[in-house]
């Protein structure tokens, strides 16, 4: 009984952390674009783009959410696990490359400046501002889609869609409030560290669900998720160090 409770708490903790951090990171990216649109072209079109994007995301959830529940559990876990593995490995690859200097860090200030420049190049038209609307819509829809996929895949396979959705909503509200308070200074958010953490959690969940889908018995049941998180964290840290050494050696040879 005690073991089952501990396992359940571990599973819920990883789920909540993964969904919260993933949603927060995506929201920071979306908010940067919305701020750029609002400051440059006016808030009305930015808000319209945000609202239509949120409605489109809600429609997607309504359409695909119930369909996912119809899939047999083992198949669902195998498919979800596979998607989470790919998704998490992609996040981690970029995060490791950014941490080791193989790739430039995600700079919200640069994205803000780039979006403002792009909008400034477009001429204002009388009446409806389609450019501003589309920019805000695309920013929120594309980043929001990643949140929706994370919520649906993690939530459905753990039978906790409601919890996952509530956590994602809390992250979205929190980032919005903080974003409004600090205006457009979202660059101070430690995005790469958050992405690394989310990536580790996604591949941990991915590994776990692939195993569950194939009827593997994990030692300690759901608690093994925490062991996977620890194993992957150590491996990722080692990979970052090795990548940094490789970059440093190349610079030494070039100098």
């Amino acid at each position: 009984m005690m073991v089952a409770t501990t396992a359940s708490v571990s599973s819920v903790t990883v789920l909540v952390l993964a969904v919260f951090l993933a949603s927060a990171v995506e929201m920071v990216e979306a908010l940067t674009i919305v701020f750029a649109v609002g400051h440059t072209r006016g808030w009305r079109w930015a808000f319209e783009g945000v609202i239509v994007a949120l409605a489109a995301l809600a429609a997607l959830v309504a359409a695909f959410g119930p369909t996912l529940v119809q899939i047999p559990l083992n198949w669902l876990r195998l498919i979800v696990g596979g998607v989470l593995l790919i998704f998490g490995l992609q996040w981690l690859r970029k995060a490791v490359m950014r941490s080791s200097g193989l790739k430039a860090k995600h700079d919200e200030d640069a994205i803000y400046a780039e979006t403002v420049a792009e909008l400034a190049a477009e001429q204002f038209t009388a009446g409806r501002d389609h450019v501003a609307f589309m920019m805000a819509f695309k920013g929120v829809f594309l980043e929001g889609l990643e949140v929706v996929i994370t919520v649906l895949t993690l939530g459905t396979s753990a039978h906790r869609v409601g919890l996952a959705a509530a956590v994602a909503a809390a992250a979205v509200v929190l980032v919005t409030i903080v974003g409004i308070i600090v205006a457009k200074q979202l660059s101070s958010v430690p995005e790469n560290a958050m992405k690394t953490t989310v990536g580790i959690m996604l591949i941990s969940y991915g590994t776990f669900w692939v195993g569950e889908g194939l009827s593997i018995r994990w030692p300690g049941s759901d608690s093994f998720l925490l062991a996977l998180v620890a194993i992957y964290a150590v491996a990722v840290y080692g990979l970052i160090l090795a990548s940094r050494q490789s970059v440093a050696r190349t610079k030494e040879v070039a100098a």
Partner: protein, 77 residues
């Protein structure tokens, strides 16, 4: 007569393109690695009936896939 594809074709094409970009994108090696990881785990369970071995092999393969993908980006000496 317009050669423009119908709305349904464009929607289906857009849907497939989205998932292709999402799952494969610029890192096809990670997609292939995931398929291989799942395949190897299935084989371990079905052929050798060694479910306990999969507990070790599965995370090792995931770490290996990440290492190979990042290793490809290391600067050439």
């Amino acid at each position: 007569m317009s050669n423009r594809p119908s709305l349904l074709v464009r929607i289906v094409k857009g849907f497939l393109m989205f998932w292709w970009g999402f799952l494969v994108g610029d890192t096809p090696e990670l997609f292939v690695a995931t398929v291989v990881i799942i395949g190897v785990t299935v084989l371990l369970g079905k052929v050798a009936h060694v479910s306990h071995l999969a507990v070790v092999v599965l995370p090792v393969l995931v770490i290996g896939a990440l290492f190979i993908s990042v290793r490809r980006t290391w600067p050439k000496r």
